[in-house]
Symmetry: C2
Subunit: 355 residues, 2 copies
């Protein structure tokens, strides 16, 4: 049809080579910042690239290149709760999408109750030959040690699920903990204009305890900032996570504070409190906690848990890998901080929720 366009403008490396009067091999060298090109030619070629707004054809590039990129993942293994299965699923989904681009992913897991498993895995990773790391830095000092070495070697890493600020990570992908606690407070206060609220922290690991504190802070901030003088807060920390121990602690709390109207559990262990409620046939108290886990959802369905706050764990894994991919393979810019939405899950909407 378009007779005038018989010879469409060349727009690729070929055209650049033609204009610069060099071979396409040299153009390729400049595009990829490889050495062995005179300053003059480099400058000329870069100008032409600028001028014609050259965008490399990523399909052709990947097809021609035999280079493979090896990513490695270091996250907690699933235990007690199956929370970490979700990020893992997201990682798998990302892998499926990008394996045709020559990316392979190796997975390492550590035990959240044993720091040494983290360090051992980290060592293995450093011994291997990887191009990018996706890391859940649950143990602060061990993570710092690991990332220091990565940085030194120019091995880029991405944090998911919890952040260690100012560590030169490529980016952080995960929840805004403080704000999610604040959100939980609003929900409870919306249903309970006046009354006593129990905050429950359940966790045996000291390290991740700091996460729970951030949520608790946000939760408390809501009440002090919004002048909710009619709401009183009390709290208990439960470090022994056996059912018997949790039950005993809750027994104690409800005995001392017979007038508790609502309970906020700062993590996915809300199921333990729900279980307790069910056993004791407690029906009139508001219960809010975290995470889209099958057990939690069961209690949500039965009306024992009122709200679950959820932060797209699967998406965290998916975006984590894709961020590495964008940066390392595609060479595009990525956001420094990607906070997950604070999703509110109820009996009515859980079946439409996508992690």
């Amino acid at each position: 049809m378009d007779k005038q366009n018989d010879k469409p403008q060349l727009s690729g490396v070929k055209e650049i080579a033609r204009r610069a009067n060099v071979s396409i091999a040299t153009v390729d060298r400049v595009i990829h910042n490889r050495k062995g090109v005179s300053e003059n030619t480099r400058k000329k070629i870069n100008e032409i690239i600028e001028e014609i707004g050259f965008q490399p054809n990523i399909l052709a590039s990947r097809l021609a290149s035999k280079k493979v990129n090896r990513f490695v993942v270091l996250i907690p293994e699933s235990q007690e709760t199956d929370y970490w299965e979700s990020p893992l699923r997201g990682i798998g989904r990302a892998e499926d999408e990008i394996k045709q681009y020559g990316v392979s992913i190796v997975r390492y897991f550590y035990d959240l109750n044993d720091k040494t498993t983290f360090s051992k895995a980290a060592e293995k990773i450093l011994a291997g030959n990887f191009d990018g790391v996706l890391l859940a830095p649950s143990f602060i000092s061990e993570s710092l040690e690991f990332t220091a070495t990565c940085r030194q070697r120019g091995l880029p890493y991405v944090f998911i699920n919890s952040d260690i600020p100012a560590q030169h990570s490529l980016c952080y992908i995960g929840p805004h903990l403080y704000q999610s606690g604040y959100q939980a407070a609003h929900l409870i206060s919306f249903g309970l204009k006046e009354g006593k609220i129990l905050i429950v922290n359940i966790s045996k690991e000291i390290d991740s305890y700091h996460h729970l504190l951030r949520k608790e802070e946000g939760f408390r901030a809501f009440f002090s900032e919004n002048d909710k003088v009619l709401n009183k807060l009390v709290k208990i920390d439960i470090r022994n996570t056996s059912e018997a121990s949790i039950d005993a602690d809750l027994d104690w709390a409800f005995e001392v504070h017979h007038d508790i109207d609502a309970v906020f559990v700062t993590n996915s262990r809300v199921q333990s409190v729900a279980h307790y409620f069910e056993k004791k046939n407690i029906q009139d108290k508001i219960l809010v906690g975290y995470d889209f886990l099958s057990e939690n959802i069961e209690y949500l369905k039965r009306g024992i848990i009122d709200f679950l706050i959820c932060q797209k764990p699967e998406e965290q894994g998916y975006i984590g890998i894709m961020s590495l991919f964008q940066h390392i393979v595609m060479g595009t810019a990525i956001e420094k901080e990607k906070f997950m939405p604070i999703d509110i899950i109820t009996k009515e909407n859980y079946e439409f929720y996508s992690n």
Copy 2:
């Protein structure tokens, strides 16, 4: 390193051709179900494809092919509210991702207040040469007429935002209206154990009115199914959407029902009620409505709107285009119905929400 793998197994069309003792051109014909291959060869090649689990290299395929796919979008233009800008943004995002695969997207818009604009655009689309359609079927009978022709021509189409069931669409991507109303009811009832609730439908188009009804149905169902005898429901329909008219109607409603404690607006026009509340300095009533629009968010921030239900409009556009792409270009299977999550937006989490 792997000396034993000097000659890695060929796995592509070449290997199939070798095993079948034919040329790769013939293999290509079979892969794409093109005619001009004897039943015998076709069968043999298909067996080999099965046997080696052949997966075509989509990069190479797209690079070699000069075929372009033309998608067309038919959605309402942005007016009154800027709701439709979001799906449009999602469509643009999808376009950016897949244009390297030879996909181009043409956009048509119709006026929600004028059915004829829909039909005219539909006609133009049918006159053009397209490979796939993304359609918001706001006008039922006009849409049916259009899709009948599409089906006849083998032109696949995807519905977004609202569904017309059993129309052989490739898929539907959008909200579950009934359930979102049910969700709104739960939220209000959580904050209001006892009291009178006003349902407000604001819309001048009769056709899309049916959507609002579905939400209202869900809303009412919550109260009847959950034995909320202490909550009373009243409703008004507002068909003249000028500010003065809305205000007058609300004046009337609050005069007749002086004891209204909460208001549920069945669409994004919740901002009109919020505006009214602000003018009249009404602060003690719960207000719940729909959609992440900047004006609505402003009222959310100021505490006038309590909750917004939102159904990822941008995502609808994005997924809509990607579904066409998956089906037409990649040839992969897609889900028949993709319901959007029912997101609950509050003052606390709106800034982390991604459409």
